[in-house]
Amino acid sequence: MKKLIIASACVLAIAGSAFAQGNVNWNVLSAAGYTSQSNSTVYSTFSPANAGQSISGGAVGATGGSAFLGTGYYYELLIGSVNNSGVLPSAPTTLAGLSGWADSGLEATNSNTAGRITPINGNAGATVSQMSATSSNNIILVGWSANLGTTWSAALGNLTTGSGWTGTAFFGVSNVGDLEALSTSTSPGSTVFANSATAQGIPIFSLNTQLNEIAPVPEPATMALAALGGASLLLFRRRK
């Protein structure tokens, strides 16, 4: 009997998790809760080659608090673990730290107004399969420059390999929010970005979110050439 009860509980838990879904407001992404910029003078901590190192030559990207003019950036809402504690964890700072965050399927791009974002396929009652109306999940917004890819999976793939793009690439992560979804799909879902708590929890509050430059990992051939160059230089100096 005890086994039966445990088995039933497991089935219920699995069923509950499988059918957990809720709605968020992915229509108006409030600039009171989220803006971003790309004027950091250090490489991203996600950068496999130069994490946290200063960028020679000073600031990259635009200067000031507003950086994004025109098109060229993408954003994705990621869903973390269930968190009913009301205490927000720190945002991930490494690629390994992103491994536990699931893709919500909700994407945004940059607005024509500097620093602001606009939803792709906006929907005030957008469904998120990983969230529910009965418990809170951690949430973050990741942002990247378009040369890393137009989808989160493509960008993550390039970040992981440290290659696959041309030009200067940027990547960043917002502060963490912790939110319940709502159960109705035809009405406004939970507010995702805001400057204070809501009835559904703590939305993402992350003004001037920094997207730092990502340095590509040098390819073996490039490294070999660099080593050859160094050796040549050494030889040249000795002969002198």
Binding site: N25, N27, V28, L29, S30, A31, A32, G33, S111, N112, T113, R116, I117, T118, P119, G122, N123, A124, G125, A133, E180, L182, S183, T184, S187, P188, T191, A194, N195, S196, A197, T198, A199, Q200, P203
Partner: protein, 243 residues
């Protein structure tokens, strides 16, 4: 987690009657104070004629150069199947941006009787001040098509039962009963802060309304001044609101 809608009772402030040669008109003006908490979702409607067009920039104007609605508040307007979103922005010439934060030249309009969602980015009390849309003793009629979803509000400043209102006698109210032509099994959805409480019209119910399961309820649903709601008539309906 449910939040009750906090809407203050309105005061119909002044009634001024004036007459001109052969023209009889009444100017009924008033205001409603609607307190709203930061980052909370409200379903509202503006029960007064405000400015030239009931533009959102006229409803929430700049006063002394300062916005009367906190910047980056969200406005969601029902378009028949979803919502068109806007953000308030005191740096925009219209005081409003589109949903991506891009300034737009003309603010969205919120005509009397139209419902909308407001999510203020800060706690604020909105004061809707203007003229009542209709004259005493006349009516305000909207032609609603059957089985279409409308996001509406009472077109007069009114708090109380949705069944009250008699245009013939001048009694105020939204007048939503079968006696006024509302087809049976029409649906009323009232926002409760996180979802809807549903009702069905029923001419055989003592209150003219059932709950969402078709069970007669003793008292019809009520609304507050400036409250919006969804109405899905089960057939064509000429909605006559009494002042």
């Amino acid at each position: 987690m449910k939040k009750s809608l906090l809407i203050a009772a309105a005061t119909l402030a002044v009634g001024v009657i004036s007459s001109q040669a052969g023209v009889y008109s009444q100017n009924v003006v008033g205001y409603a104070n609607v307190p709203t908490a930061a980052n909370t979702t409200y379903l509202l409607s503006v029960p007064f004629v405000i400015g030239a067009s009931n533009g959102a920039n006229e409803i929430w104007p700049l006063v002394g150069g300062n916005p009367t609605l906190p910047d980056f508040s969200t406005l969601l307007i029902w378009n028949g199947s979803g919502y068109t979103g806007y953000q308030s922005d005191s740096t925009s010439s219209s005081l409003w941006d589109d949903n991506g934060g891009n300034p737009i030249p003309n603010a969205p309009t919120l005509p009397v009787g139209k419902g909308f969602f407001l999510i203020p980015s800060g706690t604020v009390t909105s004061t809707f001040a203007g003229a009542v849309a209709v004259n005493v003793g006349t009516s305000n009629v909207m032609h609603l098509t059957g089985n279409v979803t409308y996001l509406v509000g009472a077109s007069v400043p009114y708090a109380g039962s949705i069944t009250n209102g008699n245009p013939a006698t001048g009694a105020g109210g939204p007048n939503l009963t079968s006696l006024a032509g509302l087809p049976d099994f029409s649906t009323l959805l009232i926002w409760n802060g996180s979802g809807y409480t549903g009702y069905q019209s029923d001419s055989t119910s003592s209150s003219y309304w059932d709950d969402n399961g078709g069970n007669p309820i003793p008292t019809a649903p009520t609304i507050s001044v400036g409250q919006g709601f969804f109405l899905i008539p089960s057939g064509n309906f000429n909605w006559t609101v009494g002042l």
